[in-house]
Symmetry: C2
Subunit: 524 residues, 2 copies
């Protein structure tokens, strides 16, 4: 019997489990860590690899219309000029001149603290604090959070109390720092000091820069790619010439990308080094882009369900037409309910033929395809589903994590932590447990089974401690099944084991053949 | 019937096939490429993934004593101070002041052009060209090649002819540029200009440098890792604390590394961005390191055979004791016969406890393990097998590539190009070929088989052109088996297909069940 309980702080619980059971470590932890960089431990690397492989198998190997590639992280710098990243891939940055803290201007919110103009009669005490021309008492600021309006309103009330002013404040109107006028910039307080120490926002390019070759000058500048997508565009012609593809078709790749985020945050959600899984699906210029856009939104949602994410956490967000780049036909994000709020997980963008055209112009190499039917040449259009592997990893941890009050047959209650990972992605598929480690026959049968399983499936052999404790250890790392080799196995007919299922905790007898059939069906 | 013929230039043949069939492209080719960077195309990415997965399965998942991790490419800069890379990871660099060409000093060879001192009587014409104090006519230089002595001797003879000098030259004594005295540096000609325009060698650090965060100053300097190995050392304690490991045990990882090579060369053999597969095997300080060293040398050689490399191309090279670093107990390289010579493929180094000790000192965090038996704490020693995935990829292409004269049943002779890839690593495992594409029954049976195969194995459906031509296309990309659905399949009992084997080109009838059993056995 079990009752599910929500941990007080889900994010804290996940980060703690991730560290404790070897899923995610802070990078370079013995040196104090490096902000925005993470390592994957023995369990994490397997979970990540399984997610990557599931995506690759479903996206590339099991389809006839998509091929994979793997392009270099450092590409020719002209790639990033043509793509627009050198000129435009920047975040607005604000410095606090006193504390040296840096903020992303669009994450730094502020508001005027203002009295209503039609207050019947502002007491003298108020008037003394107000500017000559308005009813503004001052400015408050705060970093973006779940409910920034409430945060700023509360800061405004605090200012009112601190200044011993009477009267009724207007509701605050939060704006971000990019919306501040030059005059307002000089008055908005820095969250670090409480004083107006902030610089005006400036554009900060998020590409990491390096130098290739022995020179360190402008001619040798290169960038770590901020996305894998440009690799598909730059190699488009090479794939068309060698890959036996015809429209519509896709080119997919997984790999590391790098963004020098001003404020990396939310664990592995927004880090500076991360892994992407991107696909560019090329279609005829006359094809119905909206149809394909919808097709890929649905495909991505179905895929998320196939790896075990709950439908209840998934939603869609259509980018506003007026906020899209001029070439964009439409972008829809698949959103996910993370512990820190609903955030973007997978973006599906209809980008027209912008990228290929940019590279054709910049390189002087035609990116056109010849259409047999119409005898015309044209540059294909593209639909791009782009997702971060680390984000999916986090979505999996967050939604599969559970704490349960369980009561055993003796009536004892304890809390079990369980990761309800789909068998497709679980780091360990089966744990093989001999009931006792000092019974030769049990051990021999368990070892034989383990050896046979291990050729095909990641599994774990555990003979230490009570079986109940061994189950708990597997529950925490999300192992779907435990197989116990017990006295019935060696003494009774049929050579059966006890199969214990993680989520229901039910047990039943199973033969080796049935076990392999179960794995064959569930692990793909 | 077939006869194997060696291509005139194997390296050229491989590079051409790699481009033509989508294995390897030059990075950013439409922008003129970027020296030392490569992309993997649709076939290449599959071959590379298969090699990586075979290594991972055999090294990590199928063993009980090794766990995997994945650490970030950008680590805390102190990691590289502690490891010695900031101070010492450099190559000697020489500049040609006129041409601006750069050379690795240890790859730039030179020799004195010298007459014997006991020449009976040097003619006046000789004397005019000789220095006052010796019989030196001048200096010649050349970049390292297969037979540098012959190259330099020939250059010396050329100088003699050019200067119209009589007499017999001494055999040249090639030395590299790091061995030149200050005086010689001013006389040795640059290979680019033929004049003595070279600078003295200077140390050039091969780590790519970047800046993390919004500052671009010394405090924000970071490096792209030049090896994955340090990740295992830096995360050692985290793995010990969470991974349920006990000595001896290993930590493995695969991933990109970066080295700013002065002269990248030999295709993907020495590039600036490459992928490593490294494992650190930790042993007790009192354990017999030589035994484990030998164990891992043998393991690595066996593994190379298991993916289909020929034993005839593999040899061992023991590094000379006097050339080892002070902490090193021994290093053995597994060498491979590449088209450009016998070169290092896999290094197996016994590194003592140097790395963990360095990090313990630099971080102030103990890296000791407690030994239950002796109740003592100590820092484990390590054996490190380190291999480049791109090098294995090249070794595979080079040794599996063959051109054969084949004679068909009609007596026609043609050349077939075949990649004799092991089924374990072939990008496509089976090609499914309906004999005719306009016979509904053939197509239906072929599609049914293809759909069933594709869930488990990368395979390819091809219905265009004569079956013989379809076989050839598969031969070139190394597909081990073709299955033809023909009239016997649909008209005779037993539902059998024609199975055509790539290397022998033999054909036999096979059932679906037998085909799956064959794949299950050969693809793992």
């Amino acid at each position: 019997m079990s009752t599910q309980t929500e941990p007080a702080n889900l994010m804290e619980a996940i980060v703690s489990l991730a560290k404790r059971r070897g899923f995610v470590f802070q990078s370079s932890e013995i040196y104090g860590g490096l902000n925005g960089f993470f390592d994957y431990g023995p369990m994490g690397v397997e979970l990540k690899k399984n997610l990557r492989d599931c995506w690759w198998n479903d996206m590339v190997r099991r389809r006839d219309d998509i091929v994979g590639i793997e392009t270099s992280i450092i590409m020719h710098p002209k790639v990033w000029e043509a793509s627009g990243h050198v000129a435009g891939f920047s975040d607005p940055l604000v410095d606090c001149k006193v504390s040296k803290t840096r903020y992303r201007a669009d994450q730094l919110f502020w508001a005027k603290v203002e009295f209503g103009t039609n207050t019947t009669s502002a007491p003298d005490a108020v008037a003394a604090h107000l500017n000559a021309n308005d009813n503004v008492l001052g400015y408050v600021s705060a970093l973006e959070d779940e409910n920034i309006t409430a945060t700023l309103q509360s800061a405004a009330e605090g200012m009112k109390r601190k200044k011993h002013v009477q009267g009724i404040l207007l509701p605050v109107q939060p704006r971000d720092f990019t919306e501040a006028t030059a005059d307002e910039v000089t008055q908005i307080p820095s969250p670090a000091t409480g004083n107006p120490d902030l610089t005006p926002p400036r554009a900060f390019n998020m590409m990491f820069q390096t130098n290739v070759g022995a020179m360190t000058d402008a001619s040798s500048v290169a960038y770590l790619r901020p996305e894998t997508a440009q690799g598909m565009f730059v190699d488009f012609k090479n794939v068309v010439d060698t890959g036996r593809v015809k429209l519509p078709f896709g080119i997919a790749q997984t790999g590391k990308s790098f963004r020098n985020e001003i404020t990396p945050r939310n664990f592995i959600f927004r880090s500076r080094e991360f892994e992407q899984m991107e696909m560019e699906f090329f279609i005829h210029e006359d094809d119905d882009w909206a149809k394909w856009h919808r097709y890929w939104i649905n495909w991505c949602k179905d895929w998320l369900l196939s790896i075990g994410l709950p439908a209840s956490h998934i939603s869609e967000y259509d980018h506003l037409k007026e906020k899209l780049a001029f070439y964009s036909k439409g972008t829809t994000d698949i959103m996910f309910k993370f512990p820190f709020g609903v955030q973007e997980l997978w973006g599906i963008a209809a980008r027209g033929n912008y990228d290929l055209t940019q590279h054709a112009n910049a390189s002087g190499k035609s990116q056109e395809i010849f259409d047999e039917a119409t005898k015309k040449k044209f540059v294909p259009h593209v639909i791009e589903p782009a997702v971060g592997l680390d984000r999916i990893f986090l979505a999996v941890l967050a939604s599969c994590y559970a704490e349960e009050q369980v009561t055993d047959e003796k009536g004892n209650t304890e809390t079990r932590t369980v990761l309800r990972l789909s068998p497709r992605i679980a780091p360990v598929k089966v744990a093989v447990l001999p009931l006792l480690k000092n019974k030769e026959q049990l051990v021999a049968r368990a070892q034989a089974l383990y050896t046979k399983l291990k050729r095909k499936y990641p599994c774990f052999y555990d003979d230490s401690g009570a079986v109940g404790r061994r189950y708990r250890r597997q529950d925490e790392i999300g192992t779907p099944w435990c197989v116990t080799i017990d006295f019935d196995t060696i003494e009774k007919e049929g050579d059966t084991f006890t199969l214990r299922e993680r989520d229901s905790m039910t047990q039943k007898r199973i033969t080796e053949t049935e076990l392999f059939a179960l794995l064959e069906e569930q692990v793909y």
